[in-house]
């Protein structure tokens, strides 16, 4: 209804490849960016710490899983493991390399690369093993990584409690704190860092998706024999998908520890988290970057909203166990219902709505 495509024509192939081809979309994007950068940091610390930052972290991991599972068709249950690698790498890079050479954004980048390399190692079997059989490799990654960091206390700086708090100085990178006169450990600063990283990596993923690499990923997913007949190296493509995907998970792990909870804790990278992220992916829609974000928002926010409803309407009738169980039931129902009605998840629902709006009032 609001979409006005008349008069929107492309005169070269660059324009035809734009992510937001319509003027209307571009305006919305600019308004959205202004909102995210100027308004959101001024909201309460609670909003940032309980809603926005954690969604950014898990959403990024969902995008990562999407690259591997949604785009390349390689099923993975090791997401939390790769996040764990990212979180521990970031911490250790910050801890062990002199401040002059290391800063949080750089550490995040390198821990992404570490996680990516670990991903490649566990992705190697994918060259020979196909389909569900590959689950065993990603599960091995999940359990091995967890066990590894649990067994070697060096990585936690010999902290016996299994949790290590992140020292405030680690947040102060590039002297920005003094320069801008802000508290870099405060949530607004953490949020801006997380947001910038997420936007940059989302843009990167979107670019990959519409380039040769993305098409190679999808061709391996859709028909690997045809892909190899087209000259695509299937093993290389799969390993690249593992690397990129795990890079994202690694960075997401770093963000989760540093920007959200403020400590490095092994317990949050158990297999449940891999599943939560898988739910986000399925509900959001496989193969769609924006879907991953929608899925992350839904899965993360549902229990919070449900608790809130319980607190305000039913005078706190729902204890945590009820919230958790109901949430699980709702996720399950959503996953099944979406798979039956709209296998593309929220992203497909959104795309259909958009298409309907474009063709409105006609059905096609």
């Amino acid at each position: 209804m609001i979409y006005r495509e008349t008069g929107n024509f492309v005169t070269n192939y660059f324009k035809d490849r734009e992510i937001f081809p319509l003027k209307f979309d571009k305006i919305i994007v600019i308004i959205g960016l202004l909102f995210l950068y100027l308004y959101v940091p001024t909201t309460s610390e609670y909003t940032l710490s309980a809603h926005v930052v954690p969604i950014l972290a898990v959403g990024l991991a969902t995008v990562g899983l999407n690259i591997l599972t949604g785009l390349t068709g390689q099923l993975s249950l090791g997401t939390a493991g790769f996040m764990c690698v990212g979180a521990f790498s970031t911490y250790n890079l910050m801890l062990r390399i002199p401040e002059d050479f290391m800063s949080l954004p750089v550490a995040l980048l390198f821990s992404g690369i570490f996680a990516g390399l670990v991903g490649v190692i566990f992705g190697l079997p994918a060259i020979r093993i196909k389909g569900f059989y590959l689950l065993v490799s990603t599960l091995a990654a999940q359990y091995f990584v967890w066990w590894f960091f649990n067994s070697y206390a060096w990585f936690l700086n010999y902290e016996t409690s299994g949790v290590v708090a992140i020292p405030p100085k680690m947040y102060d990178y590039w002297g920005l704190g003094n320069l801008l006169g802000i508290d870099m450990q405060g949530y607004p600063a953490r949020y801006v860092l997380a947001l910038t990283v997420c936007l940059a990596l989302t843009y990167f993923a979107k670019n990959l998706l519409r380039s040769n690499t993305g098409r190679n990923f999808m061709s391996v997913r859709d028909r690997d024999i045809a892909a190899s007949v087209m000259g695509i190296s299937v093993p290389r493509t799969k390993l690249l998908a593992f690397f990129v995907s795990c890079f994202y998970c690694g960075v997401a792990g770093g963000l989760y520890s540093f920007c959200y909870i403020g400590n490095v804790d092994l317990m949050i990278y158990e297999i449940d988290r891999s599943f939560t992220i898988l739910f986000m992916l399925i509900i959001g829609g496989l193969g769609s970057i924006s879907g991953s974000w929608l899925g992350a928002i839904f899965v993360y926010e549902f229990p919070i909203v449900f608790t809130w409803v319980g607190d305000t309407i039913f005078q706190g009738a729902f204890n945590t166990a009820v919230v958790e169980n109901v949430s699980n039931m709702v996720y399950g129902v959503f996953i099944i219902a979406l798979l039956i009605r709209e296998p593309g998840g929220f992203a497909a629902l959104w795309a259909t709505t958009k298409q309907k709006l474009r063709m409105w009032p006609y059905p096609h």
Partner: protein, 309 residues
């Protein structure tokens, strides 16, 4: 080397392998008949045993509880086929897998929502008066005189149950009409439909049977580890088992279970030091499966795929 100790370890491994196999059989049944990788197997265990335990806790006697729990699992299996699997019949296998992940999540929430999230103990010796299940702490190993080794009595009981379950299943598939239809379906869906086998009925039966197997497996697992959320992890343990076994083969599930069970135990004893830490059984099974699959991607008894193009 202490041979007796080794044999004890091996036997112990075999016994826990049996436990894995019990979970794996349910997996294989469903995979074989419909190609669905049923991730909800673990939550079915939880749901079945929780249902049973809650009934016995409320004073219903053992056999009635067992019967009702089995009935509930059958209904649940049929409902799953009708409302989850059938509407997704033409989707690809990944989507079906995802659906079972959804089913698992739902079931996990549902069973704990309907019953509760507490940890329940289950002592079958309270109900069953079999010599093998003395009221004495059953994990205390018993001396088997002629071999001169110690084996927990419960493990023997579990093996017997598993063995009889397999015999019953074998009979079911070899002799009954439904069983035969199921074998036909697993060979070729299209051909089975063409000769008039009602695919959906067969699937419903399979899901119902799987539900009952889940009950049996659930009770035995619960006896060992208690009835709680941790039962779901049984499915994680069963994964390498069925993958080594080869997804489509019941003998594969059993052999795979034994291999993993024994391998894990041996690994824990002989390799833990190499890795400088305890608890390598957390991941050792997966590595075993992984290395195995690299050499034989279709698993031990799985069918080799010739991709037609």
């Amino acid at each position: 080397m202490d041979w007796v100790y080794l044999i004890e370890v091996l036997v112990g491994g075999l016994m826990s392998g049996v436990m894995y196999s019990l979970v794996a059989i349910g997996f294989v049944l469903i995979y074989k008949s419909s190609g669905i990788f049923n991730f909800a197997q673990g939550t079915m265990l939880l749901f079945a045993s929780l249902t049973f335990v809650k009934m016995t806790e409320n004073g219903i006697d053992f056999w009635t509880s067992l019967f009702i729990a089995a009935g509930i699992m059958v209904i649940f299996g049929i409902a799953t086929e009708r409302y989850v699997i059938r509407p997704l019949a033409n989707q690809d296998l990944l989507a079906l897998f995802m659906a079972t992940v959804g089913l698992a999540t739902f079931q996990e929430g549902f069973s704990q929502f309907v019953w509760d999230s507490d940890v329940h103990g289950l002592q079958m010796s309270k109900f069953l008066d079999i010599g093998l299940l003395d009221p004495a702490p059953i994990f205390m190993s018993d001396h088997i005189p002629w071999l001169d080794i110690l084996i927990p009595k419960f493990d023997i009981f579990a093996s017997l149950v598993a063995g009889s379950l397999i015999v019953v299943l074998a009979f079911f598939f070899q002799k009954t009409k439904t069983g035969l239809s199921l074998r036909a379906v697993s060979d070729d869906h299209m051909a089975a439909m063409a000769v008039g086998i009602p695919l959906q009925t067969v699937w419903a039966v399979v899901w119902a049977v799987t539900g009952v197997i889940a009950l049996v497996a659930g009770l035995l697992w619960a006896e060992r580890v208690s009835v709680s959320f941790t039962l779901i992890e049984a499915v994680m343990k069963a994964l390498p088992v069925i993958l080594i076994g080869g997804l489509t083969s019941i003998p594969g599930a059993i052999v795979g279970g034994l291999v993993i069970g024994v391998g894990e135990k041996l690994g824990e004893i002989y390799l833990a030091d190499v890795f400088g830490g305890q608890g390598i059984e957390l991941w050792f099974a997966y590595f075993m499966a992984l290395i195995f699959l690299i050499f034989r991607p279709q698993g031990m008894f799985g069918e080799k795929l010739i991709e037609r193009v």
